[in-house]
């Protein structure tokens, strides 16, 4: 298609379809010059027309060209969009959503699940306002975010931009029928795409106005917290946390295990250090341990290992429910799946005979009367007796 737009071809436009010069070989020539009454080869001439003595063959529709140009040539499409924005003083991503959809899900749907048990004596899930209030209490939000929040709620600037875009509306003439050059097609395509970009920008502005209108009732302190989270992209509170991966709206969400203990066949306790069980919002939601860690349900002593979970099928769809389930399964796997009586997982706490194993759990073993265990500060998770 790039050759079609950037070359020096002469094309034909008929009934909204683009016709390209027909390429010949003896077979094609035979079909084209066949008399109308001849039937050999069926209806081979369908789609071939003659304009100004030249033969043209039917290709794609102009509507399809406009609709799919971004998919066929994403780089060129993005370049055109950037040029349009630059020309009209619109920064990339502006005005955009305040907080990405994934981040909203993490803060308002996933985080309350892991905080609610410690939020108070009640079991009620925290509301968005309560979550923001809690984050504001636990984290020092820099004062410049208060200022940003006030500016953000000023809708007049957005309304002016929307008005300007609406005033700059120019209807694009349809491409004339008959012979056209590649250059004419290119100019028309760019004008039509510019019209689409204008429409997109208008929709984005309208959406931003709606969103900010809804936030007008929000206390500016809460809005400052949201702006802070949107910019920083990471948070940790009461063992639950997340951090952004690169610049896109993708995150690593984790929950800390805290110190815990497991016992072996002989009832000897092993004290495991804290680690983060995490899922990534990209790809399938498999629970992994972020730190370099060893555990009977991890195959090696290395960071970023998947936890062995035999009955868990991770989902690929990012929803709050799926993330909560994956994190819970991962935590339960580390805490409760190891039993000293069955051969489950990769390793056993009390054995060191597997071929190629380079580590054991002796350094985690503690006496039964370890103060943390006696005081109940650290729980033996697999003590089912």
């Amino acid at each position: 298609m790039r050759r079609l737009l950037e070359g020096e071809l002469e094309l034909a436009v008929v009934s909204g379809f683009l016709y390209l010069p027909l390429r010949f070989d003896p077979g094609v020539a035979r079909e084209v010059h066949r008399e109308p009454g001849e039937t050999a080869g069926g209806e081979a001439r369908v789609g071939v027309i003659q304009v100004a003595g030249q033969h043209f063959v039917k290709t794609l529709s102009l509507a399809s060209l406009i609709k799919n140009y971004g998919k066929v040539h994403p780089d060129a499409y993005e370049q055109l969009r950037d040029d349009y924005r630059r020309k009209h003083g619109l920064a990339a991503g502006w005005p955009g959503m305040l907080v990405g959809r994934k981040l909203q899900t993490i803060i308002f749907q996933i985080m309350p699940h892991f905080l609610r048990r410690k939020a108070g004596p009640g079991r009620k899930r925290l509301s968005p306002e309560e979550i923001l209030e809690l984050i504001g209490e636990n984290h020092r939000i820099p004062p410049e975010y208060q200022e940003k929040a006030r500016t953000y709620l000023d809708l007049e600037f957005l309304r002016n931009r929307l008005r300007e875009l609406e005033e700059s509306d120019e209807p694009v003439e349809p491409l004339k029928e008959g012979l056209v050059t590649s250059r004419q097609l290119r100019v028309w395509l760019h004008q039509t795409l510019a019209g689409e970009f204008r429409q997109e920008e208008k929709e984005r502005l309208q959406e931003a106005l709606k969103e900010r209108g809804a936030l007008a009732a929000t206390r500016s302190r809460h809005l400052a917290v949201m702006l802070y989270l949107a910019e920083v992209g990471s948070l940790e509170m009461e063992g639950f946390g997340f951090f952004r991966l690169g610049w896109v709206d993708d995150y690593c969400i984790y929950k800390r295990t805290g110190k815990f203990a497991l016992k072996d066949f002989y009832g000897r306790p092993y004290l495991f250090p804290d680690c983060r069980v995490a899922v990534y919002t990209t790809g399938s939601l498999k629970p992994v341990v972020l730190e370099k860690y060893k555990h009977p349900f991890l195959s090696r002593y290395a960071p970023g290992q998947e936890i062995c979970l035999s009955n868990f099928r991770p989902s690929r769809e990012f929803t709050a429910k799926n993330v909560i389930r994956a994190l819970t399964e991962g935590l339960n796997g580390l805490f409760y799946n190891y039993t000293s009586r069955y051969r489950k997982g990769y390793h056993r706490l009390d054995k060191f005979w597997e071929a190629g194993q380079t580590f054991n759990f002796d350094d985690y073993r503690v006496p039964r009367d370890h103060p943390s265990l006696v005081s109940g500060e650290i729980e033996i998770k697999n003590d089912f007796t």
Binding site: P21, L22, R23, F24, D25, P26, V28, A29, Q54, H55
Partner: protein, 189 residues
Amino acid sequence: MALREDLKINRALSRKKKPLRPSLFAQVIQVVQEYALGDDFLKKLDHPGLEPTGPPFPLDSLPPKPVRAPRPFPLASEAEYNLAQAIISKVNNPYLFYASRPEEILLCPSLYRLNPGFGAETLERCHFALLLAYASAQQELQDLGAPEAVAADPEEPGGEAGIISRRARLAELRQLVERVEKHHFKAGK
């Protein structure tokens, strides 16, 4: 029994894969597209005065013929297609299949007229200008006759000087033929 064997052999042969041989159109359109030939090329083909009569440049400086790999199913614009078909119908001889340059297409008719018996391998390997020079030299040798006949011919115009120049020409032609046969033909033609 013999019939049965025959049938088996024939069927086995008919099942054997045959290499795809490019068409004459594929060969000609490749030259047309590669050298961007236009309608003026047809005028050159039409004009008998432009037909070369001998080697236009020293035979040793002829460029080697490239190994050709025409596309199996070439497509061309309408103008190129019409030009290729016009060349095919105008030249209309089997040597055209082996022409790899515009000048070779121009030499095709003369070469075929002088010697229609060149083999495919020779035509694939040797520039048509070389073959034309070789064929013309052979033709002239035939016309001039054997050297002994030249010496004995009392009717030679120009007298003794004529005989000397004719002998020199004969020697020159012979040398040319031998050189071409030695350096450019593998075995015979």
